[in-house]
Symmetry: C2
Subunit: 279 residues, 2 copies
């Protein structure tokens, strides 16, 4: 696994770097960004995985969320992967919510998606191995968070790998993909007709099967254009209550689904993870 | 002067809003953004003008600088105008550094630019009148700052209208447009052959004619790809010393010309203006 440097910037005393590599899991070149805080000069630092939403790549969160300021202050590394495999040889769909840019952080079993759309394996196995070997990352202290489709990814990957991701949070996550149009469309395409296996990738189902020891932070804008049809945080709130899962769900009047919303509460999320990871 | 709302977002408890209007100065529709801090609910707040660099419009600084956080905390309104007139009826050039996106904050006297490229009048007269009438802005407390070409705009407009802009700062500004390729190309096109009038739009010349009572803050990245050919902060440093102008010029190792640099020091600039404007 050779890293190809793409870009690098000094930012808040740390370094934001972008890299390409040939992914075995996805069978194509993949690009990701890492913010390395100044404190990493003194030794390995905790790692936060930020999973982006539909259509996004590494750049949205690194350009628009302002995370570097507080990540530098708290001494957190933040990794921003892409949201799917991409390229001419990779299956795609004209819709923004399927195919390239819409990997949903699962491993597809159906054609034409199965050969490349293996984002769960990529995010939870291949990329951590790469980060652990190439960056000053303390892989015993990992947390995960994300936005929208990436909030779904963060919650579900946390429940799937509790030992790896010790802290978790989300901005306006898709919490019940089995029940909303975005998730049903993707699961149908990537996993096939509705079946119990869908529940293995649905945060509302996973928390009911076994709650996590972590305290979950979720922020949701009340003016989010996707709130009622796609996000439905009340379903996760009810599932957590039923399961005895510790959750703080904050509803913010006036805020929408954009990075202006994410930026407004990014500091709280980074502090949430730093506290859990003892950064 | 009727404002057409384009977009609006809640951000850090305040509001980021984008507006179109028919500009008399530029003879075409113009678009700008305003961040209104939460404190404006209690009465008029100081206004900061942020002038962007080549190719930019309102969105670069509002999306990438993270200014909303500290502007909200300090109670500062920030206005981000476009960098030139635009549109099919407006003269243009294939180069990124002339014509649309490259107004240089001066009023052109030469053809084909003179009919629309009147950014000085637009920024210092028409837009302030509009902001003062349509937003909770305290027009007795205005400051100005900017990046690159917009740093040139901020410095020169401050020297031209010291009573209006009581505080001033810049990120990696063009300080000597009469002496560097970007500025010479633009001044030749917009103002005609080199003549003493060029000096009226050159910060190094203006400070020598009459220093300002304001303390000027400039941040410059030492890894800025334009530092040696286009920016030359040492010329402004020398001119300020000669003129007795109060200046803090900070050189930052490793930082380039990007918004990752601007974001890293945005808080310092907002605090600089807030202190001068007693926000």
């Amino acid at each position: 696994m050779t890293l190809q440097p793409v870009s690098s910037w000094t930012s808040f005393g740390g370094t934001l770097s972008v890299h390409d590599h040939d992914s075995e899991a996805c069978g194509c070149p993949m690009r990701f960004a890492v913010f390395t805080p100044p404190r990493a000069k003194d030794g390995p630092v905790p790692v936060l995985w930020y999973l982006s939403g539909l259509t996004c790549n590494w750049s949205n969160v690194m350009e628009k969320s302002g995370l570097q300021r507080m990540a530098a202050e708290l001494g957190l590394m933040v990794v921003a992967p892409d949201t799917s495999p991409r390229g001419e040889d990779v299956a795609d769909d004209d819709a923004y919510d399927l195919g390239q840019g819409a990997g949903f952080y699962i491993d597809a079993t159906e054609m034409p998606w199965a050969p490349h759309f293996r984002m769960q394996q990529y995010i939870t196995e291949e990329l951590p191995a790469l980060i652990g070997s190439a960056f000053p990352a303390d892989m015993e202290r990992q947390g995960i968070f994300g936005h929208s489709m990436g909030g779904h990814g963060a919650l579900t990957l946390h429940f799937k790998q509790r030992a790896r991701y010790r802290s978790v949070s989300a901005f306006s996550p898709i919490v019940a993909p089995s029940k909303v149009p975005w998730g049903r469309k993707a699961f149908q395409a990537y996993l096939g007709d509705e079946c119990p296996a869908w529940g293995e990738h649905d945060a509302c189902e996973l928390v009911k099967r076994q709650p996590s020891d972590a305290h979950i932070l979720i922020d949701q804008g009340e003016a989010d254009q996707f709130l009622e049809e796609q996000l439905k945080p009340e379903l996760f709130e009810a599932a957590c209550r039923e399961a005895g899962q510790s959750l703080t769900l904050r509803r913010h009047p006036g805020y929408d689904h954009s990075y202006y919303f994410i930026a407004s509460f990014m500091e709280d999320h980074l502090r949430h993870h730093a506290k859990a990871l003892k950064a």
